[in-house]
């Protein structure tokens, strides 16, 4: 048995970490505690940042290193801290019963992942590093949308948006290493960052005005 080359290791580490991202996403769907949800999101972002670092190392692409570092600082450290503080300020620790119960939402997510797999089937090949993670990226995107629809609390919807963004980033990092210029990646990154901060304030205002984070109550006009 010859010692494995760096490329061989990377081509196995990347699908492994991407799969773990999917596992974390599924746990996020089954879990209702807000603080645990935030922690799971941080783990998912850490995995994404790891994937970016591995890709950057293999292609010697310095701008992907920037993405890895920014993801780490922004999504593993800063945003979880911000959301944690928000949870402590609004004193709500648990999402109410989601619209669909856990077993059926898990089944729906399995179906969505299957859809992701089958749609990306023609694009996957083993020639380029991490190409088969496109399926997982699409699955993260779809299940993230589902999570956003299924939950009632504004804060979990923000988290769902962030996981959707993680899916987009995964696709960008693993699929088009050279394709996405740094400017675009920076643009997406700061877009999300600002969006979350604005949404955080919005969530707080919703809570102040309606005594609840339930977005279902927002359809009634109040003078």
């Amino acid at each position: 048995m010859h010692p494995p080359t760096t490329l061989e290791i990377s081509s196995q580490v990347i699908p492994l970490m991407a799969t773990l991202m999917l596992v974390v996403q599924l746990l996020l769907i089954a879990q209702r505690m807000l603080l645990t949800n935030i922690r799971l999101f941080a783990i998912q972002s850490l995995l994404l940042s790891g994937i970016a670092a591995v890709v950057a190392f293999n292609y010697n692409a310095s701008h992907v290193y920037v993405v890895a570092v920014l993801t780490f600082i922004g999504k593993v450290v800063f945003l979880p801290w911000l959301l944690n503080r928000l949870v402590h300020r609004i004193q709500i620790h648990q999402d109410v019963e989601p619209l669909l119960n856990a077993p059926s939402s898990m089944l729906i997510c399995a179906a969505l992942t299957l859809l992701g797999y089958s749609v990306t089937r023609p694009f996957t090949s083993l020639e380029k590093l991490g190409n088969n993670t496109l399926a997982i990226a699409l699955a993260l995107l779809l299940t993230g949308f589902f999570l956003m629809i299924n939950r009632r609390k504004a804060l979990t919807q923000v988290l769902a948006l962030l996981t959707v963004e993680n899916g987009v980033m995964l696709a960008a990092v693993a699929l088009t290493t050279y394709g996405m210029p740094l400017v675009v990646e920076l643009g997406i990154f700061f877009d999300v960052m600002v969006a979350v901060m604005v949404l955080g304030i919005l969530v707080y205002r919703i809570r102040e005005n309606f005594d609840s984070m339930d977005t279902g109550k927002l359809d009634q006009l109040k003078g």
Binding site: M1, H2, P3, P4, E8, I9, Q12, V13, P15, L16, A18, T19, L20, L22, V23, L26, L27, A30, N101, A102, P103, M106, L107, C109, A110, T113, L114, Y117, R121, T124, N132, A135
Partner: protein, 315 residues
């Protein structure tokens, strides 16, 4: 291929003797982690020896099923264990069946366990049986799918062959599909062995108990066989987990004594590592409400289903 008598005898003895020790270790470590002194790891042997000596009290309403069940539970667990490679890769009873036989034997044991709970017509026993069946109805398919994932990669449902092919593959980290399958199998392990998020193995008279509720009417020799069978079943499932997913150091068909020694050491190390993880999970989690348990198990089921799908994606 013939039945190797030494292999057969060795694995039977290992299953019989190692299983109570492993249960004892888990109990002891759990106590240590909770700042209690805890029973010594070999206490379970004394318990079983004592139960074997004691008289039995049997309800007058009990039929033959009640006295039949302990032997079935014990023997099915033992037979299933002989089909899983422990230290030596061709398991002693590999000619008689693979994955399906193991799952089937465990299901047969569970069926009789549930019948044994129902038979003396005590309210607790019936409740335990009904709960056990509810949980296993979801846990069992998850287990099947998870093992099939590995079987597809190996191209065989024979467990010895699965272990060997995972081992001899060219340099390979964990396959992503195997990661999903392992996660599912771990949840199934917790559910099947009655560990904390699903059932509490330390309770004896609580409304929430599942496995203990079915054993409530048993005493003496029958109880010894039930307890022993349960710990063997736990050992079998843990062996399945460590040797199918991490067959590092598993000795091949014509292994020397030294290779067998290394294999035994590696096996024990893996087993203890897995037990440590189980202990940490048990200590850091609270028991789930019974109606939330299907949530956990359906997560395991979906993970296993995705694992099976992923084998086609990441091959």
């Amino acid at each position: 291929m013939n039945l190797d008598p030494l292999n057969f005898l060795g694995q039977t003895l290992a299953l019989l003797l190692l299983a109570p020790l492993l249960s004892g270790c888990i109990k002891n470590w759990k106590a240590k982690l909770q700042n209690r002194r805890g029973p010594r790891p070999w206490q379970v042997y004394f318990d079983i020896a004592k139960f074997l000596r004691k008289d039995m009290v049997i309800s007058e309403h009990a039929s033959w099923v009640f006295s039949f069940a302990p032997y079935v539970v014990f023997l099915t667990a033992l037979l299933a264990g002989l089909m899983v490679p422990m230290i030596n890769a061709p398991a002693p009873l590999r000619l008689f069946g693979g994955v399906l036989a193991v799952v089937g034997l465990l299901a047969l044991g569970r069926f009789f366990l549930a019948l044994g709970g129902l038979d003396p017509a005590s309210a607790f026993g019936g409740m335990g049986s009904s709960r056990e069946m509810t949980i296993s109805a979801i846990a069992e398919p998850a287990m099947m799918l998870a093992i099939f994932t590995v079987a597809i990669t190996a191209g065989s449902t024979d467990l010895s062959q699965i272990a060997q092919s995972t081992q001899s593959a060219t340099w390979k980290l964990l396959n992503p599909a195997h990661v999903l399958a392992f996660a599912a199998m771990f949840v199934v392990l917790l559910a099947e062995t009655g560990r904390i998020p699903v059932d509490n193995p330390a309770t004896h008279l609580e409304l929430t108990m599942i496995h203990e509720a079915m054993l409530l009417e048993y005493s003496g020799r029958y109880l010894a066989f039930m307890e022993w069978g349960a710990s063997i079943k736990q050992l079998v499932l843990m062996t399945l987990l460590v040797n199918v997913f991490f067959p590092v150091g598993l000795a091949g068909p014509q292994a020397s004594v030294a290779a067998l020694g290394i294999s035994l050491a590696a096996y024990l190390a893996k087993l203890l590592a897995l037990s440590a993880v189980v202990v940490v999970v048990e200590t850091t989690n609270a028991k789930m409400r019974l109606f939330r348990v299907p949530d956990l198990l359906s997560t395991a089921f979906v993970l296993a289903a995705l694992a099976l799908l992923s084998t086609f994606l990441f091959q």
